[in-house]
Assembly symmetry: C2
Homo-oligomer: 289 residues x 2
Amino acid sequence: MLYFIGLGLGDAKDITVKGLETIRKCSRVYLEAYTSILTVGKEALEEYYGRELILADRDMVEQEADGILKGADVSDVAFLVVGDPFGATTHSDLVLRAVKAGVQHRVIHNASIMNAVGCCGLQLYSFGETVSIVFWTDTWKPESFYDKIRKNRASGMHTLCLLDIKVKEQSLENLMRGRKIYEPPRYMSVKQAAQQLLEIVHNRREQHEELAITEDTICVGLARVGAENQKICTGTLTEMALADLGPPLHSLIITGDMHPLEIDMLRLFALDQATFHNLKLTDSSTYTS
Amino acid sequence: MLYFIGLGLGDAKDITVKGLETIRKCSRVYLEAYTSILTVGKEALEEYYGRELILADRDMVEQEADGILKGADVSDVAFLVVGDPFGATTHSDLVLRAVKAGVQHRVIHNASIMNAVGCCGLQLYSFGETVSIVFWTDTWKPESFYDKIRKNRASGMHTLCLLDIKVKEQSLENLMRGRKIYEPPRYMSVKQAAQQLLEIVHNRREQHEELAITEDTICVGLARVGAENQKICTGTLTEMALADLGPPLHSLIITGDMHPLEIDMLRLFALDQATFHNLKLTDSSTYTS
């Protein structure tokens, strides 16, 4: 049996009891290490689970899946994923390979950033398509996420923006020279994401259109959701582009229409209470009751 | 401290280690008992957690919140919710009352049906607004969920339909006579939801419009997600209206545009393989690559 086990979002103890018991009976345990991170590293997990973990990077999962599946038809293998195994990233490819190899699979679910963001008080019901915001470079500044957020807002929906993670990236020079030297991991902050979004807002100058994203659009910044030191901030896009939410992982929400109860919840996390006091005046499209 | 603790979706062991440790140190433990259920009852949870649970029905949470918050400023109180505390239902009202009463709160997340449905292979990214389908009566047959599903499909998005739960309902006669006698709980099945949806499809006769929901629209039925005996079925709306997925809870997904990898995953759960073989011919709007 191949077990896909979600680790949740905070630290080693966010695993479910069922997940922990399963890890302890498996012959091999892989840790998927390229789509998300916990606030603790591999060593802390190994110590708490009492098992050695095999780091599975993207190359291993995509190109050496046979190794992961080896023997899983007669013994138990665990594949650990931060969050939920079918949350922000699906592992459908590995499931399909398992089925093809005659290996049964089972999923042990956990919280994902896709549902845990509900803790800020916005209704999960009212989220539209989720978008990813990638790091811009000097020569590559994709804006497609902006159009998706705009489309969600046109339907009154909130947008969860998952922020870029770069692990095991090579510099252009090392890539060209074929040197397997990797840059330190980078995790996009709420501040960086808001700055990129703000740059598009300024370039497009759609500020006076009814459903546009403006400098005053209410956003929610979330950092380390589920951890003891999680941080949630709410405010305008401009405020968010100045906010420091500390270490990764960060996520950003761009609101759509809001219910008064949602506003009351967001107010608890306001960077500046005046923003919410003046909400009806500055950005009426986000406050329909 | 008031702890909101998600129990996950299956049985007693789907709680996180952190959640379990927290329950065991709290002075009072409430179990929210009106928005969802596990596959095991209150007694099994009490035995596993080693704590007495106080059932909190809607009336208690909405009208007697002071009782729940009592003493939570100086001791620890737990409020347990099936799934995630801010998943399908938010408990914002209780959070706001806690803040007003000077009681701190913390959330211990878990899987919610809102993210666990990803196990069928559809990308969570590509879901639009979530809808609720309520039990129709002879005189009340609301169709608003149909329009929301249609709107999601028009954007290529999938729709998660949460199915009605009736607990502590009174018959009209008992209600009128003021007798606090409650009907047995009822949980809508995938079959019932699909039948109601099919009735709307037949009435509206939009079958030839490009983005309409038709008898042949591909759906996913899910039952007891996260439990040992979970069941996932995929097929047309017509097939779903005949399918028996066993005991509750059930959820239904109406697909939008699908990626080939999503199709490959859904095929694993096909009620009839021929449905997926002929997919391009019968319902091209759902299969864009």
